[in-house]
């Protein structure tokens, strides 16, 4: 006899976890959100505005929060161990309690690539080098001594993405459009600043992304230079000197900047890899969790009762993540229906 109201452990209360939990609750299940941070919302909650419509991130998060208010949510809680049982799972949590559930949904998301690992870019060494996350935090708080009436600002795409040496050969997918969004925001803030984007390829695949790019060019005069930044040094006045090849011109190019923003890429959350091993789910070559099928079953693992949603299987945009969360909820629903 299957539990009429199965419990589903949703690991991670970022947007994937929140959306999936909401859908599961609507479908009559009992999701439990387990979040290691003291608040829900994950990376998106720390962002300021979202492309392509400049929607405040808080709007998205607030809506999700409201919709999941009644769902059992364990904040500041990590998983000590997961054991597979005959027809379910037993989770031991770091608060000392344990949780029995009939299915596990990984909504563990991603981790931002540690930009300090790209040593030649000098993050953590040169003051004027910051990351996309640092800049987003500044949009939120306006507190960062490094950002003060800059006259020249640069964005480096693909920091820790598409980079064999950084251990991540994948495209992080969202950085191109994030760079353009942030470049526009910098231009809005400091209209007289020269803004440069250094890119290898511009991968603007999403709805309205290309329009956003045209806007950045035509309305904001942002300079796009096709060349991967090779090295960053510090000038005597503390500004940074950036070197790349202007490949469309076939010449080395250098520019001195007041601020350099590194578009740190997306890598798998190491917690996810750790939990995956415990439930017998494999990690793919790219470091992300391995789906049963990369086309037809992206939200399913190869093991019964274990499902995925969002960036735990690879870099995703927000709409993709939300769609996957719904899809995962439906997969879980079918899974229990079949067992009846």
């Amino acid at each position: 006899m299957v539990n009429r109201n199965p419990v589903i452990a949703v690991i991670g209360a970022g947007i994937a976890g929140l959306e999936a939990a909401r859908q599961l609750a609507d479908l009559g299940y009992s999701p439990v959100l387990i979040e290691k941070e003291p608040a829900v919302g994950g990376h998106v909650a720390q962002w300021n505005r979202l492309f392509p419509d400049m929607t405040p991130a808080a709007e998205v998060i607030d809506a999700l929060k409201k919709q999941t208010a009644k769902i059992r949510t364990l904040l500041g809680t990590e998983i000590a161990s997961i054991n597979r049982l005959k027809d379910g799972f037993s989770l031991v949590l770091t608060d000392g309690t344990s949780l029995l559930c009939q299915a596990v949904l990984f909504a563990t998301g991603f981790q931002l690539f540690n930009a300090a690992k790209k040593e030649e870019y000098g993050y953590g060494i040169y003051d004027r080098v910051i990351t996309n996350r640092d800049l987003e935090a500044w949009f939120n708080t306006r507190k960062d001594k490094r950002i003060k009436q800059p006259e020249a600002v640069g964005f480096v795409h693909c920091v820790g993405s598409r980079d064999l040496k950084a251990g991540n050969t994948q495209c992080s997918k969202v950085c191109c459009i994030t760079a353009i969004k942030q470049a526009i925001e910098i231009k809005e803030e400091f209209p007289d600043a020269e803004v440069y984007c250094f890119y290898m390829d511009l991968r603007l695949f999403g709805k309205k992304y290309e329009d956003f790019y045209i806007k950045a060019q035509r309305d904001y005069g942002i300079h796009f230079i096709r060349g991967r930044v090779s090295e960053v040094g510090e000038a005597i006045d503390g500004r940074v000197v950036v070197k790349a090849e202007d490949t469309l011109n076939g010449k080395p190019v250098k520019v001195t900047l007041d601020l350099l923003v590194l578009m740190a890429g997306v890598v798998c959350n190491p917690d996810a890899q750790h939990y995956a091993r415990q439930v017998g789910v494999s990690v793919d070559d790219d470091g992300f969790l391995k789906s049963r099928d990369n086309i037809a079953a992206i939200t399913e693992s190869s093991r019964p009762g274990v499902f995925f949603a969002g960036a735990c299987t690879g870099a995703k945009t927000i709409p993709e993540t939300l769609a996957e969360a719904r899809s995962a909820a439906l997969n879980i629903h079918h899974y229990f229906n079949k067992r009846k």
């Binding site: 040593e119 000098g122 060494i125 040094g233 510090e234």
Partner: protein, 356 residues
């Protein structure tokens, strides 16, 4: 600049350098142009600090310059190096220390290539046997001589006669470090501190009281470029690259440049002379150049060795302003003496660069 950020990277790239028992191979360029540096490497590490460092009279050039001037095939270069390994093996050593950076890069590259392509190692073993009837074991550890001195920097600091500080102000000397390209650019993990922020020289400079300058072209090549220097027609390349470095470091007013590569100190020194002759420009203070020292020369000064015994007179850029800053005594009359204090002719003077 955030110094702790660099320290974090340095911690990631520390090498386990063996403490003792080394087979030493010399550098072609250094023997010609900085003969006393090699002498003092042995005098300091072997005689003063008691390390066992062995040199075979039978070792030769590693042919690295010819290899990088593309005048010999890769297998020839590898077999010449294999012969040095054989001499090491025969002498009963397992750790190899090279005086030259190009050799260090060459040895490291060869071992790495053999690791990836063992069939090539077999072929080279066969070549060496056929040509010389010699066999070899691969070294357990290959270090550059600056690695060893970096490791011993604390012991040197304990015995220091002088600190790298301005005697008048007590301020640390402003030091530019220049790392040879083949030290860690090909294999970052083989160099102390990696490729981007090597600390092999800065570690010495800081241990002995100096402060290292980080300037934008710090990582740029000195411009040697092998064939780009050896062929007269190409030397504009070499000169232009060095010039770029000097223009970049000039605003920091460095007191001294230290190097760990054989060619770099020669080029950074001589191109200052050429720029002064061509353009009348000098980069030091009051018409002098910026002195360029090898790490052994720097260690020797710290340990109180007489500057003229260290061979600082064979530099084109005058070192006296640096000696005065630190407060190192020297006898101008002894600078250009020959053997046994013999008086010989003195060198001519440049047109523009101030010298003694």
């Amino acid at each position: 600049m955030i110094y702790q950020g660099k320290q974090k990277i340095w911690a990631d790239y520390q090498k386990e350098i063996p403490d003792d028992h080394w087979f030493y191979v010399r550098s072609c360029i250094r023997q010609n142009f900085f003969p006393a540096s090699e002498k003092y490497f042995l005098a300091i590490c072997r005689d003063q600090l008691g390390r066992d460092i062995y040199e075979s009279e039978h070792h030769t050039t590693c042919a690295g310059i010819a290899y990088h001037c593309d005048t010999i095939p890769q297998e020839t270069a590898m077999t010449v190096v294999a012969r040095q390994f054989a001499l090491m093996t025969e002498a009963g050593y397992e750790n190899l220390v090279t005086s030259c950076i190009t050799s260090f890069g060459n040895y490291t590259e060869i071992l790495e290539t053999w690791r990836q392509f063992p069939e090539l190692e077999e072929k080279v073993r066969e070549h060496l046997w056929k040509a010389c009837r010699r066999e070899f074991k691969k070294p357990k550890y290959v270090a550059h001589a600056s690695d060893l001195m970096y490791k011993l920097r604390g012991e040197i600091a304990e015995r220091a006669h002088f600190q790298l500080v301005h005697r008048a102000t007590g301020e640390p000397l402003r030091i530019v470090e220049h790392i040879g390209c083949h030290y860690s650019k090909m294999f970052p993990h083989k160099g102390v501190g990696g490729a981007e922020y090597p600390c092999v020289l800065s570690g010495m400079a800081e241990s002995w009281g100096g402060r290292v300058i980080d300037y934008p072209e710090r990582r740029h090549c000195c411009g040697f470029g092998f064939r780009q220097y050896f062929v007269k027609a190409n030397r504009g390349y070499s000169l232009s690259n060095t010039h770029k470095k000097f223009e970049s470091m000039e605003p920091y007013r460095p007191d001294v440049i230290i190097t760990n590569c054989p060619g770099c100190p020669y080029f950074l020194d001589r191109w200052q002379y050429v720029i002064s002759e061509m353009e009348g420009k000098t980069y030091g203070q009051n018409g002098y150049g910026i002195p360029v020292l090898t790490y052994e020369e720097l260690a020797g000064l710290v340990l109180g060795v007489d500057p003229w015994d260290l061979g600082l007179q064979v530099h084109q850029v005058a070192v006296e302003p640096l000696l005065d800053k630190i407060g190192i005594p020297y006898d101008p009359a002894r600078k250009y003496l020959g053997m046994d204090e013999k008086k010989i002719m003195t060198p001519g003077l440049p047109t523009s660069l101030k010298c003694f």
